[in-house]
Symmetry: C2
């Protein structure tokens, strides 16, 4: 199996798991519809794929850690639903479809986000897996920390605070390290911890994720400017319009392209200790760096 097939297998696993996650639950008004509308809207599933592949790389069984991979995607999805709200970024379109609150109304979008965040912990703590309790606790704790005020939500606040003024490169990197980087790093750490990986493996994966996360965000900013609306599924230039600070407004498209290449090379370098085994994660970094959507 080559790298692409390996990651596609992870992606199929997580898609199937997410499809079934809420099927056994009794329907409660429109709530599950609203949750599933955003959760099952496709997307690249980068975070769960990173978790599953990091787990495999450290000697674990990806199928055993699916609730954790699903949980990180639920938290990513909830953050998108709340970010799109009228009082936040006020976006009408996400992945080429109307945003959650456009379909279900603002109140239901708030609650769908709240219950996806909560469901992430429900699934991780349900303990239907063979994972030892200590590892479950550590992995769920990593995700809680990465998602909260010292992670993703903290980054969102820095983003809001920065609107209307120009951030420096360090401020923008710190913002993105929290807003998008924290969950990406949590994904590889969780995979490693759940597999019982070593301290050295965890450190190498963290360095990889740190560079990958930044490269991913910079490429996102570039695509926002040069992409086509049809390809990207959101209004092109929407960041610039709302006076968001982006790497492109700070450095320009060309310098950003070079930065993405350099960061991707550093991400790949960080995996050297794993040797050949890390092929798929290297392939993923290179693929994300050259993506067009």
């Amino acid at each position: 199996m080559d790298s692409k097939q390996c990651l596609q297998a992870h992606r199929d696993l997580i898609e199937a798991w997410l499809q079934h996650a809420f099927q056994e639950r009794e329907p409660r008004g429109n709530l599950y519809d609203a949750m599933c509308y955003s959760l099952l809207a496709g997307g690249k599933r980068i975070r769960p794929v990173l978790l599953l592949e990091s787990c495999r790389l450290c000697g674990g069984d990806p199928e055993q850690v699916l609730p954790f991979a699903g949980a990180i995607e639920m938290i990513h999805t909830y953050s998108l639903i709340h970010d799109d709200l009228p009082c936040m970024d006020d976006d009408d379109l996400r992945r080429g479809r109307p945003t959650n609150h456009k379909v279900y109304g603002e109140a239901m979008a708030v609650l769908a986000g709240d219950s996806l965040l909560t469901a992430a912990f429900e699934f991780m703590l349900e303990q239907r897996t063979q994972i030892p309790p200590e590892r479950t606790l550590e992995a769920a704790g990593i995700l809680a920390r990465a998602a909260g005020a010292r992670g993703m939500v903290g980054g969102q606040v820095l983003d809001m605070d920065g609107e209307g003024r120009t951030l420096g490169m360090n401020e923008l990197e710190e913002l993105q390290r929290l807003k998008t980087g924290a969950l990406i790093q949590a994904a590889v750490e969780m995979g490693c911890v759940l597999a019982g990986g070593t301290v050295e493996q965890r450190a190498a994966l963290c360095r990889y994720a740190e560079h990958l996360g930044l490269a991913f965000q910079i490429q996102d900013d570039v695509l926002d400017v040069v992409g086509k609306t049809e390809t990207l599924g959101k209004t092109v230039g929407s960041d610039a319009k709302s006076e968001k600070n982006t790497f492109v407004t700070l450095k320009g498209v060309e310098a950003c392209g070079e930065l993405v290449s350099r960061l991707t090379a550093e991400a790949v370098d960080a995996l050297a200790p794993f040797g050949e085994g890390a092929q798929a994660l290297c392939w993923l970094a290179n693929t994300l760096a050259t993506r067009e959507k």
Copy 2:
């Protein structure tokens, strides 16, 4: 120590713990201010007190389970912040002070709620306590389930769906069993599980909490009608104005008073297996039933 002193001691413990919870965290814009504004606004602290006393009653040490008691109060607080949002109940006043979004703006109120919910799990999973990992997992899992789509948020959705039409008594009980009852029941179950209580103890505490939770909500509806704004700290009659379904609109004030008395007696009866040890929880049920705010 009599019952009142015993519960006051729990309340002092939890107030002190909450006061210090975010003090070590680095400030991140206004986020921590917004979180603490609502978390440290007083309130009766019923859920954490129930957790601590259930823990003590089952042979555990309340001081060891403070992160769990704090977590349940954080989740209760996040639900109030989100419930008060303009797109939800649109309330300006809570506990006699302007609501979170009135002070910090809607976007920050959404994020303060999100990060309180996340912080609840951070604190429970940090594992700085002597609680065995299996018990930590079970207790945190109970809270996750009670807070989510099959619990509190599910109840909130039923509440929204019911607006503008008249619910039957069964529907209204189901709504409240989820919206307020789920967290109250989670509090006693978590206390019991963390203390290593027996299946019988857990069942008795659940019966107690079920009746207590319903009595509490009915009394809340009564106070909304007959209370004074100064005493209650929210606009009197606000439920009726927004065409909310309440026990008072369904049954009238007098019948509600009788219902509260009956449910409180049943709550007290449920604790019979504990004998004298359950004095404080009995006292709490009776005190809540006759409260005027």
